[in-house]
């Protein structure tokens, strides 16, 4: 597997583009993006588990039900959630993209992110969407158009081999942010030229999302608009993957690489974050247990605030594990902090180690910190990603909308 550039335009036959329709307050930034395949794709998607779902989530569910798609249209600036005329406007957005691209509107996935409770200015989108110039070099541009308070674009692409054929897969995403302070949304769009059936693509995505995006926590708040869509157009020419063979494994490995890279970028760019915090739990009795423990640790406000302060406060790590409801024996637990600046063991068998506070502070001031936990109970492991809790998180989210 080889890391390459190109994001959603890395795979053969995919183009992207963006335009400023005027949804966002900003007068300069694009706010609407399209990702387009020159031929039909098998498609799979996962959606927010929030009971309150935005209109574009429902429309995309409808449109992808038959397992095929050609394009994705997405806007920032308005989430079209709990908004007047939401369903109608999400459908109009798909239709505008379909008309522009010359495809069926049922082959278009729709996604939105931004303020909720306000009517989306669909007339603006209908008016300006056709100004988009599609290109096979516009992944970054499309990525920027869907950013809200994200401070950087988030992209990944790899080249891999299936049955002797070179395939590519790449993606872009946006993480937690807000436009007119309101709500963070995870949107992730993946494209591949690998030939894979709708069923296999769905299996691969659903399995992998659990281990990547669903292991990211920025603030514990699950958005109404989260969505991950994968389009596979088959232009790589490999034999169609339609069962769980070796080719399927190769595809899953590539998909996992993309989603893991994007998930880490989302965590690292969490609102107000100054660092990526990774927690790995190993030697657990099950992967589910390890996952629960790791997510509780990166999700704890007290752990997150300690990471911001570069405070080797391992007691909070144990405390978070303790209330995770996952089974483990506190008296078996070892905890260490690691980063590019070194490693420091702080807790052994559930009890304090006499560690070097200077070293610990140095380890924890890095931009990426890993909390290594060994529960000494079995053979399973899991990793979760989060970020620190900072003054800026409070600032970004405490500001008046008005």
């Amino acid at each position: 597997m080889k890391i390459i550039d190109g994001g959603v335009c890395a795979a053969k036959g995919f183009k992207a583009g963006s335009v400023r329709c005027g949804i966002k307050a900003s007068r300069t930034n694009d706010d609407t993006a399209i990702i387009f395949s020159e031929c039909e794709c098998n498609a799979a998607a996962t959606y927010t588990m929030n009971r309150v779902k935005a209109a574009p989530v429902y429309v995309t569910m409808e449109h992808l039900e038959n397992g095929v798609a050609r394009a994705i249209v997405a806007n920032s600036g308005n989430a079209n959630a709990c908004a007047p005329d939401g369903m109608e406007n999400a459908r109009r957005m798909a239709k505008a993209a379909a008309d522009f691209l010359g495809v069926d509107e049922e082959d278009v996935a729709v996604a939105s992110t931004g303020v909720i409770g306000q009517r989306i200015n669909i007339e603006c989108i209908e008016k300006h969407l056709s100004e988009i110039v599609l290109s096979d070099d516009a992944s970054e541009q499309a990525n920027r158009a869907i950013m809200t308070t994200d401070t950087r674009t988030k992209t990944a692409a790899v080249e891999f081999t299936v049955g002797g054929k070179t395939c590519r897969i790449g993606g872009i995403c946006k993480g937690s942010g807000m436009i007119h302070p309101n709500m963070g949304t995870m949107l992730s769009f993946i494209t591949t030229d690998c030939a894979i059936s709708h069923e296999m693509l769905t299996d691969a995505l659903q399995e992998n999302v659990k281990k990547t995006y669903n292991r990211v926590t920025v603030d514990g708040d699950t958005s109404t608009n989260d969505m991950c869509v994968v389009l596979a157009n088959g232009l790589a020419g490999n034999e169609l993957i339609d069962w769980q063979n070796e080719d399927y494994q190769a595809f899953c490995k590539a998909l996992n690489e993309i989603n893991t890279r994007l998930a880490r970028q989302i965590a690292a760019d969490g609102e107000g974050a100054t660092k990526l915090v990774t927690c790995t739990v190993k030697n657990s009795r099950s992967e589910e247990t390890a996952e629960r423990l790791a997510k509780a640790v990166v999700g704890s406000n007290l752990v997150k605030a300690a990471m911001f302060g570069a405070d080797a406060n391992w007691g909070r790590v144990l405390c978070a594990m303790g209330y995770s409801k996952a089974p483990f024996r506190p008296e078996y637990v070892d905890v260490a902090f690691e980063s590019e600046n070194g490693s420091v063991a702080v807790c052994e068998k559930g009890a304090a180690l006499n560690f070097d506070e200077e070293l610990a502070k140095k380890v924890l001031t890095a931009n990426e910190v890993t909390i290594q936990i060994d529960v000494h109970e079995g053979e399973h492991a899991a990793t979760a990603w989060g970020c620190d809790l900072t003054y800026d998180y409070v600032k970004i989210n405490g500001d008046y909308r008005t």
Copy 2:
């Protein structure tokens, strides 16, 4: 029922006192308190659900297993959790109190709050505990001795009637705070002169804790040391309550009054908090559903940050309800914000209302704000309490321990 003063010393036959043993860094504040009954009490307690439990939690469980007790000894400055010699030292603490008071050590409940992972300086406690001067006017003093980053004492007491006899019940507690930044702990100690059996006291407490303390969220982190202990010495002379009769209901009502008042004080004094945030969900299909929804709302970092910024960001309220996993129909939901400054309806049937932003800001700048939610589905209701998320929360918890 009549509100009175006196906290844990309000009921007949209870005394309290405190002393500085030297556990805390502060050279002036007391750090160890005793609450004592002049005769044997029926006792009940609830403990942290955290899998990692501090040593004093286990020792108190042992000592209260027979349902009787005479005293509570509690210290701040060291949580005696994940600490060397924890069990032995918690037992020595109970013994030191028992020797001083001339009671059996199994009749003493032990509680600690403060830094975790460090050996408690038990020798200091053993040396200084006997310097305590017990008095029936020292509830506030005992309360101050168990404070960590609490900014004020938390107390409540009421007088009520059982079978023609005047009874009293009162309590003190500490909330989320830290001493040498580490961990918040909820400790609550209640005393009453009402005659009530161990079994009835246990029923009453367990039932009521679910609706009071367990509906408080400061930061979602459940401590290793949480404990609520009730001592009932029977000196009011009422007929012993030993079944669920009218007298039991009168007792439960008084207990609920105390615990609700203490719970609200804990929420209002959450770390860094500038305001108490109450969420009431009504017309829900069950009380459990209403509780889940209310707790999700007051527990959401995004809602908490919006409350800090006095931002009427009702979309975050709906979003939090949506990920609570409790059943409700978004399209039925009404949301309003209320405070002493007025009331403003912001969402009706799941959609935005065109509300007065000026009025909303005024409502939300009060010290106590209520989020009123009507889900229009049934007849049940629940209330949960929390606080806002502020720069100071991050500051308190991000500071170096060293």
